[in-house]
Structure formats: C-alpha cells, structure tokens
C-alpha cells in the first residue's frame, strides 16, 4: 500500500511541480493510512464546478477520495442558514462522518461552533481563520492559505508579460485578504518590471457577475493588458479578458480552459495538502491541529500551470519566485508607502505570515484605485 501511495503522491506532486519545480519532500510525504475507515463530510456554499472557491475545494476532495480507507461525502449549494447545520448533522448521523469540512465563511458562527459542542467526538474544520483558542470548542478549528503568495507569483509573471505596464485587478471587497492580494500582485510585478502599475476596481460583493464583466471591460478600456481578480467565481472576469484579447491571471482554481490564448498563470489554493494531513493524523490517532495556515512554505498554495501567454522569461521568473517563497523570502520589503497620502504604512520588512500584515487596510503606492 505504501508503494502505491507513494507513487500516487509522487504523481500529484509532479503535476504541481510542473509549476513549482520543487523537490519531493520525503519527510512530509511519508504518510501511512490505517485500514480503519474515516468518513469525511464536506459542505460547499455553491456549485462544485464554479471555476472558483468551491471548485478549489472539490478538486482537492477528488484526490482525497483516492486515499485508501477514506470515504468522502459531499454536499453543494448549502446556504449559510440552519440548512448547513442540518446537512453536517445528517453527515454525522446518517453517514458516520468523523471529520466535517465546512468551506464557507458564514458557516462558522453559529453553526459549526454549536455542532462542535453537540458532537464532541467529531472533528470540525472551517476554511477561514476564525477559530479562537479561548472561546471555541477544541474539536473545531480553522485552516486557510496565504493566497497572496501565489498572487505575488502572478505579478512576477505578469510584470514580464505586460507590454503596456498596466495590470487590471477586479476585486470584491476592500478587506484585508483582498487588499493583500492586490498589493502582492503589485510587488510581484514591480520585482520584474519597475514601471508596472496595478489598477483596481471593487465590485462590492463576492459574486456580482454583471459588475465583474463591466469592471473587466473598464480596465481593458483603461489600457490594462493583463487582468486578474479576487472574486468568488473568476469565470466572468477571465472570459471577458479573453474575449477582449488581453492576458489574464486566475484566482482560487484553474481557469486555464477559459482562456486558451491569454492565460498566464493563476493563484490557487492547494487544499489537498491540508486535507490529506487531516486524514493521516486521524488514521494515526493523532489529534488534529486546531489552526493551520500558511503559504508556499507549507505547500498550502500553488500556481496554475502556465497558459499560452506565459513567455519563457516570465515562466523562469515565476518559478524562481516560487522557490524564494518556499524559502520564506519576504514579499513585503519595507519601507513601503500607501497610494493615498504617500505615508509609510509598512515601516520595515515583514515575514510573509506576520500578523501585522493581516490588518492591512491600504493599497500600496503603484496601485491605482481606492479602498473607499
């Protein structure tokens, strides 16, 4: 079993390595799964094939299903009401789920927290950094990826691909994680192209297909020749960019099929690392970590395999940037100024996971656009 296990992981790894170009980390790979069956239940807020957030989880779940001794039950389009607690409870009662993965932000309070109290023998993990050591049950927890690292790599590649030095960014809401992605694209692009700027348009909500299309069009009209985004389902943005004949970088999941001509690379979560870790911990009878978060250095994020628009130098620079991130090379090298008042907002160089950066409420100098 360990042999087949090893080769499959190797295969998976190689697929990821097409981009990452890292070496196999044997220590992390050596996982043994006991024959004891584990049923994992996962709930999605939208469709599993949304080319975005839900798909990123569904892709990981698909390869988790291949792990021997692990059974997965999935439910999609579960709203953030008591429907989700009933779905999770049904997975526990009718399917015997021992681990529940709740993947939408609004599932956490009150639903995950209450159910974790009600079913102390079941493990609950939620895909957003919300778990609190003091308040929340010990059988609940959070996992999340620092996607801004992969956006930084997008920026590195886009900086070398752009001819007009203008990158367009369609963003949902001006909250910290989105702002960090925008700023990371800028810093990535500036690292390979000092003249690059990022122009941003906020749509105001996570899923606004019509406004996303308008925003993408407006950015192209404003002269941007690379478009990227942070919205729930990037499908509309990427398709609009492709239709307008400009290049694009993806978000959340692989959008390669949507842009056969203009795709460069995209920022993706790599949930499978976390999910397989959970499964093996449970199989070995270990307790699950309550709080898991990180980026390239722990293999929680990845970049989409290069598309047709990624030039040779861009690919090389991107792969080098990934190697740097794996070695914890910082993205935010201070001092850095904001784009509104020119005030220094990042006084020194911060590590990529520094909590100081989680409170980001500014756009850096070089970004065109405003948070308000």
């Amino acid at each position: 079993m360990s042999v087949t296990e090893f080769s499959r992981r190797g295969l998976l790894k190689t697929a990821a390595l097409g981009v990452a170009g890292a070496t196999l980390n044997l220590g992390a790979v050596k996982r043994t799964f006991a024959a004891a069956d584990l049923t994992v239940g996962i709930v999605y807020v939208g469709a599993r094939d949304d080319f975005g957030w839900n798909q990123a989880h569904a892709v990981a779940i698909k390869s988790l299903k291949e792990v021997p001794g692990v059974k997965v039950v999935e439910e999609e389009n579960v709203p953030e009401t008591d429907a989700v607690s009933k779905s999770m409870e049904s997975m526990i009662n009718l399917d015997g789920a021992g681990l529940i993965l709740a993947t939408s932000f609004g599932y956490y309070t009150p639903f995950v927290v209450d159910l974790a109290k009600k079913y102390p023998d079941v493990q609950f993990r939620h895909a957003a950094p919300l778990w609190s050591q003091d308040k929340d049950p010990k059988n609940a927890g959070s996992y999340f990826g620092y996607l801004n690292q992969a956006h930084y790599v997008d920026g590195v590649a886009a900086g070398l691909c752009t001819k007009k030095n203008k990158i367009g960014f369609v963003a949902a809401k001006p909250i910290a994680s989105v702002l960090s992605n925008i700023n990371s694209v800028l810093l990535g692009a500036r690292s390979t192209n000092p003249n690059a700027t990022v122009q941003v348009i906020f749509t105001g909500d996570w899923s606004m297909p019509v406004r996303e299309a308008e925003a993408a069009n407006a950015l192209v009209d404003a002269g941007c020749d690379v478009i990227t985004c942070h919205v729930d389902g990037p499908k509309v943005v990427i398709e609009t960019a492709e239709k307008r004949g400009v290049m694009s970088c993806g978000h959340n999941a692989s959008q390669v099929p949507l842009a056969p001509k203009g795709f460069i690379t995209g920022a993706e979560y790599k949930w499978i690392t976390i999910y397989k870790g959970y499964a093996s911990d449970l199989a070995e009878g270990k307790s699950l970590p309550n709080f898991l978060t990180g980026g390239y250095e722990v293999d929680f994020v990845q970049n989409t395999p290069f598309g047709a628009a990624a030039t040779e130098p861009a690919q090389k620079a991107a792969l080098a940037a990934i190697e740097g991130l794996k070695a914890k090379k910082p993205i935010y090298v201070g001092p850095l100024k904001d784009n509104k008042t020119g005030k220094v907002v990042i006084d020194k160089t911060y590590g990529n996971l520094d909590p100081f950066l989680d409170k980001m409420d500014y756009l850096l100098e070089g970004v065109v656009g405003s948070t308000t």
């Binding site: 439910e75 999609e76 009933k86 049904s90 309070t109 909250i175 910290a176």
Partner: protein
C-alpha cells in the same frame, strides 16, 4: 360510498327513498365532494413521481434508491424527521403569507421581503435590550416588532392595490428587493457588529436571548407557532364574518363593494396578516437560528412559501403537510447528493415536476362524475 353505483345513480335513488337516507347521504355527499381535493393532488403527485422516475432512469440512476434515500433522509429516522420539521417551519409561515391574501383574490409574493425586514427588525430591536430586559420580555417584543414591520411591508402592497390600483404581485416582489437592500444598508453600515469583520451582521443577541427547542425535540418553536397560526387563520377565514367578507371580496370585489363591505380595509388587513406571518418567520430565523440579523436571512424561504401555498390550494390547514413534504424533500436532498452522487439540482427537478403537474391538475376539478352527488348528476 363503495357500494354506490357509479355510472347509474338514478335507479338507486328510486330504490332508496331520500328520507330514510338523509343523514347518511349528507355525510357521504360531503365526503365524496371533498375527497376530490385529496384524490386529485395525490394523483398529481404520483404522476410527477412517475415522470421523475423516467428522468432518473434516463440519467442512469435507480428510482428505487431515490425513494429509499428520500425516506431515510427526510422521514425514516427520528433525526431525519426532525430535520424535515425544522426545515418546514419557515415554509409554513411564509406559505401563510401567500395563502391569506389569495383568499381575498390577491397574488401576494412579497413574503421574502417581509421575512428579511421582520428578522432585521427583531435583531435591531434586540440590540438595546440585551442584558437589560428579561429574555421573555425581549423575545415577545422582538416577535411583535417583527410582525408589525412585516405586516406593514406587505400591508403597504395591499394598500397600493386598493388605493392606487397597483398590481400587488409586482409591487410585493419589488418591495422584497427594497426590503433586502434596506437590511443590507443597516447591517453593513450603522448597525454592523465591528467585531465580526468579514461577514456583516448585527450584534449577536446571545444564548440567553435565543428561542429554544420544543422540549424533547431538535425542532425550534417556530414550527409550533406555524401550526397554531395555520389553525387560527383557518378559523378566521372559514368561520368568522371577517373571513366571510374577505372571501366574498375575493370572489367579486365589485359585488362586495355593492354590499357595503369595507373592501379596502379587508384587503389591507389580509395583506398585513400575511406580512406579519412572514415577519414572524424572520423573527424565528434570527432568534432561533442565526442569533443575529445578516444577509443569510434572504435564504429564499419567502419564495418557497409561494410554492407551498399554491400546492396547498391556499388552504391554511393543508399548508403544514405540504410544507413537511417539501421540507422532507429538501432535507433528504443532501443524502441524495451524497449517496447517489447526483447534483443538488436533482431535487429541484422533482419539485418542478410536482409543481407543474399539480398546477395542470387544477383543470381536472369537476370533471370526474365520481366526485359529484347523485342529485347533482341527475341535474346535469
């Protein structure tokens, strides 16, 4: 009933003198006439199930599995059935929000807006009361406020209908979007709980102020209130002068005006009752489930309630079983997704079949001689 000849009613009339059968036949005639309202919907359900079975076989899945999972996921275990009842609770209330105006001839579909605003009103009213008012007082005030706000919202549609002749279906639907926007405006602005950075919500009302479960079950009190309101509103509409006047107005509002009935007030009152029901559903969403008001209130219960009310032919007493049936389908939808690896839309396909076939079956009423009394048949 079974020994009554079907095709040849007349000879039997000659053999049995009316006088000796009077008491028995009165009941038999009513049973016969009313059984039409049971048999035809059942027939429609069976036909819809048949169509859906064909659909399942066409995509290579077993209808037998489907039925067994619906049973297991929606009704078969204590957990499943309580899951079903809990899911039916908001549907009962939002269905009432459609059924009551329907009795006065209005197609009012604004339950969603009244639910959202009612829930928001309850959540907002709770903020100054947390920690000060006793929970029982706070909850009663929140429920009343939710009903008043909901009642006002749908009542306004009714008023526009009567006073300005605005189509109530359109106005109530549009008011729904305005209602959701108002809720979002406050939840993302003035009343936002800043300790919850990424999901805009009002302040949590706290465990002490939550509505509990019905003792011995996992079902919250909204279900019991829904049932009680169904019975109460059935009596209001069927057994009181108010209900009679409303039904007369629904039958022919000009005739009702000519009779001197207060048509305007009746329309606004029925609409307001409807809105109050939906507002109460919103109150329970906030006080029994979410613990705060946020965008999750707009979960579509108001729209599913329209389906329930139409399936129940706007009869308050039929609403609970229909809501439970739909709740069971939705509750088992998860199990079906998980076990049969079918997409979430499968259950919607079934709901669609049921809705279309049931609406089509409306044309069957009065077409079967078996449901008519022998005397009626003689006359025709």
């Amino acid at each position: 009933m079974s020994n009554t000849p079907v095709a040849t009613g007349a000879p039997r009339e000659l053999i049995d003198p009316l006088t000796t059968r009077a008491a028995h036949s009165d009941f038999a005639v009513r049973l016969r006439a009313n059984s039409e309202y049971v048999v035809i919907p059942l027939l429609a359900l069976i036909i819809a199930a048949g169509l859906f079975a064909v659909f399942l076989m066409a995509i290579g899945k077993s209808p037998v599995d489907f039925v067994s999972y619906v049973w297991r996921g929606g009704f078969g275990t204590a957990f499943s059935f309580q899951n079903t009842l809990q899911r039916s609770a908001p549907l009962i209330l939002t269905a009432l929000a459609v059924a009551i105006p329907a009795r006065i001839g209005l197609i009012m579909i604004g339950g969603e807006g009244a639910l959202v605003l009612g829930g928001f009103a309850a959540g907002a009213l709770a903020i100054p009361m947390i920690g000060h008012a006793p929970p029982m007082v706070a909850l009663v005030l929140m429920a009343l406020f939710a009903m008043i706000v909901g009642g006002f919202w749908v009542g306004f549609s009714g008023f526009l209908r009567y006073a300005r002749g605005v189509n109530e279906t359109i106005s109530s639907l549009l008011l729904t979007y305005i209602g959701i926007a108002i809720m979002n405006f406050f939840v993302e602005g003035a009343l936002r709980d800043l300790s919850n950075p990424n999901k805009p919500s009002t302040m949590p009302i706290g465990d002490a102020y939550m509505v509990g479960k019905i003792p011995g079950t996992q079902v919250h009190w909204g279900f019991a209130f829904g049932l009680a309101l169904c019975v109460a509103l059935y009596f209001l509409m069927a057994r009181t002068t108010f209900g009679f006047a409303a039904r007369v107005t629904g039958g022919n509002s000009r005739a009702a005006l000519a009779q001197g009935l207060p048509v305007g007030r009746l329309i606004v009152a029925c609409s307001a009752i409807a809105g109050a029901c939906a507002g109460l559903a919103g109150f329970f969403e906030v006080a029994a489930i979410q613990g705060r008001a946020n965008a999750s209130l707009a979960a579509g219960y108001g729209f599913t309630g329209i389906l329930v009310s139409f399936l129940a032919r706007h009869n308050p007493l039929v609403i609970p079983p229909v809501a439970i049936l739909l709740g069971g389908l939705v509750a088992s939808g998860g199990l079906i997704q998980r076990r049969m690896e079918l997409p979430d839309a499968t259950v919607l396909v079934l709901q669609g079949f049921i809705f279309v076939v049931l609406l089509t079956s409306e044309t069957l009423y009065g077409r079967f001689a078996i449901f008519r009394s022998t005397k009626e048949r003689d006359r025709t």
